[in-house]
Symmetry: D2
Subunit: 319 residues, 4 copies
């Protein structure tokens, strides 16, 4: 029986998600619970099998991770507690002995495939994509085949894998750093049950899910004005279909600041009043530690001062 916190994540060993998890808690401090997909990792928290999940939420190349956004937007409430950035890089690897010029079929998670498209088009234009369920699944298949001595056809000759998976699974490198975008990053979040919100660090973001009141362009503008009029900047806004009809969207938003900030609180109350659905997905420190811009008149002290004045005005003690 373990008293260590249990983390569900997209496994198995060697994934980018594991690299993110290692930034959060070492294998000594925590129990690692690998899952087959993002939805399962999040479900593991909901049903009590895990205390936390570490899941990708956004990448520079692919944008929002829809499985994560959609799993968090509905279902029993969960919150984001922390974010972690992991550089994205891929290695083209294979069982020992395979040569680059023999590669015809490459197993890769579709996201990995996309991120190496230009490299592949240039170096292996004839190669065929064999989709994998995760970045490490093909590495594990190769390792299995090597261990069982089987020369069996795996259906592919090589795989795009995260660099750590090369050693974990005993592969050979055919080409390193094959991702097209050398600055690529993936943002991971630690998901947990609602409870005490982490206190403000001074450089926080707040994540929300918001449905617009109706199917008008003006509704998005009105939502953005709820933030703008309180001087709250947004660092991310993504639309996802609500799913019941074309043209109805749910917005996933990262706002600069913490839920306990006066300006953030008032903006979110504005959304709560005007929008049919608002879900708070957490306030947590930014991985980049960038402090929010505080516009004139929107510091906490400005709000407190205005509230004190309004109370005096209402009581006839000020004008």
């Amino acid at each position: 029986m373990s008293a260590r916190p249990r983390y569900a994540y997209l496994g198995p060993e060697g994934t980018f998600t594991e690299a993110a998890l290692r930034q959060v808690a070492s294998p000594d401090e925590a129990e690692y619970l690998p899952q087959s997909d993002v939805a399962s990792a999040i479900a593991a928290v909901r049903d009590g099998q895990a205390d936390f999940a570490v899941v990708a939420i956004e990448s520079t190349v692919e944008g929002g991770v829809t499985a994560t956004l959609d799993s968090l937007a509905t279902g029993s409430p969960l919150v984001l507690l922390r974010e972690v950035l992991v550089p994205v890089q891929f290695t083209l690897a294979a069982a020992p002995g395979v040569r680059l010029e023999d590669v015809r079929r490459i197993s890769a998670h579709p996201h990995a495939w996309v991120q190496c498209r230009r490299w592949l088009a240039h170096h292996l234009p004839q190669v065929v994509h064999v989709p994998a369920t995760s970045n490490t699944a093909p590495a594990a298949l190769i390792a299995d085949a090597l261990r069982t001595g089987g020369p069996a056809d795996l259906g592919f000759d090589a795989a795009l894998v995260p660099p750590p998976a090369v050693q974990t699974y005993g592969l050979d490198v055919l080409a390193a750093d094959v991702a097209d975008n050398v600055a690529a990053l993936t943002r991971f979040v630690v998901v947990g049950h609602p409870g005490d919100v982490p206190p403000p660090s001074g450089a926080d973001k707040t994540t929300l899910v918001v449905h617009l009141p109706d199917n008008e362009a003006g509704a998005l503008l009105a939502m953005l004005e709820q933030f703008a009029v309180r001087g709250v900047n947004l660092s991310r806004i993504e639309s996802r279909p609500i799913g019941d009809a074309l043209g109805r969207y749910s917005f996933s938003i990262d706002a600069e600041g913490h839920i306990t900030d006066e300006r953030v609180g008032e903006a979110i109350m504005g959304l709560r009043r005007r929008c049919p659905y608002v879900r708070f997905l957490g306030s947590y420190p930014r991985a980049d530690a960038v402090e929010p811009t505080v516009h004139v008149g929107t510091a906490d002290s400005d709000f407190v001062g205005a509230r004190t004045w309004l109370r005096a005005v209402r009581e006839g003690r000020a004008t």
Copy 2:
């Protein structure tokens, strides 16, 4: 010594302001303190000679009464407690015996002159304007001359006066209802010391003075958005020069609703935070008893519900 409330107003007897005052308190209930001008009436409240002042603030023809707007915008704090609408009509009157065809010079307050311009241009195109300090001053001069038997030249032959002044001063009517705009109204306000704000009647307005943060068009837009984002409509907005440089304005605003309304309170706090100067000039029932439009999500219950929810979110009890 009098226990009756004392009302300063633009006198003497027979003015429109007196007609407004009569709607507020009868001469039996109140002490009437006629003043020579609006600024004096307001000053009488400030220096304790009167409890209240009744002054014109806006007319359909002339717009804002600048003396009132400017006197209230600065100086020791006063608030509006009530508004009263008075139809504006003028009578061309003279000493008994004067005939319309003999009229060459007409005494009239400049506002009265403007409001009868078309009638005068049509019926008495050659007549000369002799400016008066109030609407009833020329009537009083005629009455004086009649009483003292003096045939002395008053400098004018007839006067534009409010209808009640005809009888008060013993004049003859040369032409009734000579104002160009038969629907003309003047809005008067009762001014008093800050103190208990009248409770909401359900159909209130709130008057404010606001200076913009700087000399940009964008600043006015930002101010209007403070109201719009909380669903508060404005029924009047007028600019007045601040007086220190061309291009710097003070805005006099009537917002629909009462200072104790959540949406009005939050909007005004927004102004307080962003603008260099905000003065509350009172919340009071609208004379026309028109209830404000309450937009979706801006009722008091919406604000209270959102605040309760935000507290729960901040304490980790909701998402």
Copy 3:
């Protein structure tokens, strides 16, 4: 018969308006046609008695000159061709021999009275205001009385007059520089018939009259957005009642830039499309020669480039 341009202005000699007119055209170059009031000066242009009128439109102390704003907003079309700034200063003057301590009644145009209110309250608190139709009318009355030898009671003992009137009318100075605001300025405009718009100087303003589509706060916001979205700043915005009902306003606006500027043209077309009434009152050089701020993407070349691109897109030659 005169070939010199004829200028109507608020006379007689010695007024601030004359000082403004002198900046525009010397008495040698132009025929000066003094008028009794602003409305008459403007009417003189409309009915052909004058080629131009020089009238005050705004002062730092009193704000918009309502007679000017209202006369230009309706009636046959006139335009502003030029603006002139005149410092506002007043002298308390009287017939030779009058002493300051004897002054009980002061004749002054109401605007002059207001601008010297603090000085008067401090130095002559008991003095009574005798309203005059212009700043120089009382000076002329004194001069007349002196010339005709009449000791007749003028109804006042001294007058607030523009400094040049002292010499013109042979008065004595009782106190110089009695205006409360030493930085006070009045802005005058030269009004003429529409025709060739003066070419852009690079530092122009454009004056407009606009009625809002309806009686909503949102309508003013929408009007301001027509300017903001094209990057046009406003240097003045004033409301005037339309006159048919309380709460209906006409806006008098100065926008930075010239009607031939692309951004100004598009903004004004936006007003023309959305508002029930838009009147162009001219584009003319700013007296202060301040060049407008040109925001990113709003230079003429940006508009021309966008239009060229749109044409190509519509013709299938670009995307």
Copy 4:
């Protein structure tokens, strides 16, 4: 050699995309060129192997099809010529003889899997997902195995396939209509080379790609105002990462109306002036034939009238 238009699409036979293509051109009228993925279908048009591509762009369940959005946003210019809606429904099918209770592994395209998740969780909670590259790939594998008599293990027992694929590939139905959302629709577009824009049908939409000028919340608001101020509604707005850094987005937008509409043209010129990147992706009839709402003052005739007036004003012929 063929004179029929050539259509690239996501094949093989039996896909939803083929169903969409059949709405556009029958196999008799057109040459069908099945491709292995969306990017290849679009590339086929770019490199001249096809005249048009039919690709999914949005579904009610999954939202924007990122491969389509990203392929169109960059690269050599292509435009959308038409849109087609296809109801989305899935059948769980297998080789003849397989029984529902024997199914352990189901091959399905990840999108199909997501859209049947609830049905699967309820009826086959233990089943494992075997990802397929397309909706029909597993059906083709079964058909191949049946034809070659091979009892070989395909790695899965059943497949989620589009209903038409059942007959095409000779499968047995284990369960029909297993998609969770019975109202699900996918929107397909016909992609072609820029050239003559289809003339307005009266119920059109215009698709754009826009990058914001910088990384501020205010920039999105400013972009939306470019549409709002011209009365153009948006029916879709989706963000996609630009890919060079977290927090930089490209927006994919559907605006109501046609590029030849005055209001659409002016709005798009506004974007062109203010945004670093704007790409026109076509104006084409809406599949639902819903006509756009035309707000007051935004009809073509309003724009033409305003332009005529502005020209007259600039030439001094109007005010």
